[in-house]
Subunit: 202 residues, 2 copies
């Protein structure tokens, strides 16, 4: 009996790994697809093909289009948070580097994908409540992480709002980068606001 | 002859007024439609019906869908600039009031409409270059007006980037208001950043 169970467990493990890998491929393909084609161009079929997965397998993992794309944005947001934390394992030694890394969260394909999802959610009923909830969750996590990495003391009056305003600015910089390569201007703005943040958080 | 010409001129004037009024109704309906339904839901027919204008008359004013919606966003942006300037005819006496008024530019239907247009332009070929150009023009004008109303001295190092960062923050606050009523949080952030701007621009 024990031998049979062990063999079954061994058989199950790689199956779970394969399933997890498939899921991950679908999530990454979904974010890339959203970023490039927007919500109207992003369907489960298009993502399945891009991920090299059958449509049936895709629907096994994500029964609806809304499931797939909200899960995708959440997954990639978590990956980005982990990556940001990994960049600064002891907190941020250099505040300018950290500020630049946080702003970078808002200028890549993840932000672009999230933006398409938000905008679609503002007039698509099935998407609205789910994306609102997702945005709140990801927003809280980004705020928490930024406060921690900046070493900001939120018990001091104004510090919480200073960090929030900085994250709003990062989001606005992401939007300004949507249609044009805004890097040169952005670097000057970020350099100046790093000085401002330094003074405010001291 | 003089009498006939005068009569024709008198006849032309109300015609031009009517034409201008029709154009204006179309532009306002187009922005409202974009804000509510997004780019996919916004067609010339839908706007014409909303404005109470025939489809033919709408196409006489705006031969293509792109013409109509880019003109609409530009028109409403200009209206908003005029309104902002009219609010502060002698420049801004109270900086907090001005900061709040500038942030308001980014939380109403115009910003929502512009956002839909930008996002659509990021993956619609016919729209891309036109919206990029429009965004640059409106952005420059808003920057110029904000500098003027804030009485900011851009010859001082960092001042230009401070104002730019503030406008990026306003844009980010607009985005945060897309799916939820973010007013309470926004007011706290704006109050804090008014203090920061005061210190930086002094």
């Amino acid at each position: 009996m024990g031998v049979v169970n062990d063999a079954r467990a061994a058989d199950r493990a790689p199956k779970q790994d394969r399933s997890r890998a498939t899921r991950q491929r679908l999530l990454e393909a979904a974010v890339a697809c959203l970023a490039e084609r927007g919500w109207t161009g992003s369907t489960v079929s298009v993502v399945a093909e891009r991920a090299g997965v059958s449509r049936g397998a895709a629907q096994h993992h994500f029964p609806t289009r809304e499931d797939l794309f909200t899960a995708a944005v959440e997954y990639v947001a978590e990956q980005r948070s982990h990556a940001l934390r990994a960049l600064f394992p002891q907190g941020a030694a250099d505040r300018a580097e950290l500020v630049a890394a946080v702003v970078d969260l808002y200028t890549g394909p993840l932000f672009r994908a999230a933006l398409h999802l938000w905008v679609a959610a503002s007039h698509e009923e099935q998407l609205g409540p789910r994306v609102t909830e997702l945005e709140a969750r990801v927003g809280r996590e980004t705020h928490r992480l930024t406060v921690e990495l900046l070493g900001a003391d939120e018990t001091r009056p104004g510090v919480r709002e200073t960090v929030q305003g900085f994250l709003d600015m990062a989001r606005g910089l992401g939007l300004a980068n949507l249609l044009t390569d805004d890097r040169a201007r952005r670097e000057r703005v970020v350099a100046q606001w790093t000085r401002v943040l330094d003074r405010e958080l001291r």
